[in-house]
Symmetry: C2
Subunit: 142 residues, 2 copies
DNA sequence: TAATACATTATATTTATTCTAAACTGTTGA
DNA sequence: TCAACAGTTTAGAATAAATATAATGTATTA
C-alpha cells in the first residue's frame, strides 16, 4: 500500500481519478525499477494474470494514452500492426529485430547525440528517436 | 512508352509479372525525379485520378510490398493508424509533424552519421532511421 | 450523504490490412 | 500460334487494432 500514493499522484497529475482499475494498471507499469516494452494486448494479459479485478480494454487504452500525454509512457515509432509502448521515458533508442518481433533498448550513451542541422520555421523538435533494424548476421555477405 | 521498359524491369526484378495494373502503379511511383511519401489510400486516389484502368486495393498492397522487399520503396517507421511509404530509398531521415500529420525529409547530410556502439550477438544492423517529432514553437517555453 | 462529474464496461463501430476464391491474363513450349 | 499452366486481379469477406457509445457504477464535493 505504500506505493499506492505514488500511483494516485501519477494518476491525478495525468488528470485521472484514482480508481481500482487505474491503480492496478499503475502497479503493472510502475512497480519495478526495470523498464519494459509492451503492447496493449500484452498489458491486458499481465493484468489478467495478476489481478482479481477486471479491467476492460477501453480503460487500458484510455489510461495508457493519458500517461503518454503526460510523459509517463512513450510510444515507440514502429510501423507494426500494433502499437508498442515503453515505460522507459528517458532519452534512448531502439533496435527492432524484425525476424523475432523484438525490441531492444539502446542506451543514450551508446548513440552519439543526434544533431539535426535542418530546421522547420515555426516548429521545434520535441523528440528524436533512432530505430535500427537488425537481422541475422549469417556471415554470408562479408 | 519509353518508360514502360524501366517499369517492366523493376517488376521482373521484384518477381512480378508486368501487368497493366502494376505498370500503372509504377508510373505513379517512379515517373518523376521527385520522391514523395504516401499512404496506400493516397496512392489509390492518385491512380484513380490518372488512370482509366481500375486497380484494386489488394493489387496495390501486393505490389507495394513486393517493391519494399526488393528495396524500391521504404516503409517509414511511424506509429500511425496507416502505414507511410517513401519512394526515396536513399539513406535519409524524417521530421514528423504530429499536429499536421505531415512527414518532411531530412537529408542524410543534415544528420551526423548515427554511430551505434551497442551490438547484438548474431545480428547485424540493416537500417538506421531517425524520426524527429516536431511541434509548434510558441516561444512560450524559452 | 446527496448530487454531480467522471469512469467503467460490454458492445458496436471504424478502419487498415489481409485473405479468399473465382474469373482472368501473361508466359512457355510444342 | 495456341493450349496449358502458373501467376494475377478483383470484389467481397475476414481479421484485428483502436475508438466510440451509452448505460451503469463510483469518486468527489460541498
Amino acid at each position: 500500500m505504500a506505493y499506492a500514493e505514488q500511483y494516485i499522484d501519477k494518476l491525478r497529475k495525468s488528470g485521472l481519478r484514482p480508481t481500482k482499475q487505474r491503480i492496478k494498471i499503475c502497479k503493472v507499469l510502475f512497480n519495478t525499477d526495470k523498464t519494459f516494452h509492451f503492447t496493449i494486448k500484452e498489458l491486458v494479459k499481465i493484468i489478467e494474470n495478476q489481478a482479481n479485478i477486471k479491467v476492460s480494454l477501453a480503460t487500458v487504452y484510455n489510461t495508457v494514452h493519458a500517461f503518454i500525454k503526460k510523459g509517463y509512457l512513450k510510444e515507440i515509432p514502429l510501423n507494426a500492426s500494433q502499437s508498442y509502448y515503453d515505460t522507459n521515458v528517458t532519452h534512448h533508442h531502439h533496435f527492432f529485430d524484425e525476424e523475432e518481433n523484438r525490441l531492444i533498448d539502446i542506451h543514450q550513451d551508446d548513440v552519439d547525440e543526434v544533431n539535426i542541422k535542418k530546421t522547420i520555421p515555426g516548429k521545434k523538435i520535441k523528440s528524436v528517436e533512432v530505430i535500427a533494424k537488425i537481422v541475422s548476421d549469417n556471415q554470408s555477405q562479408k
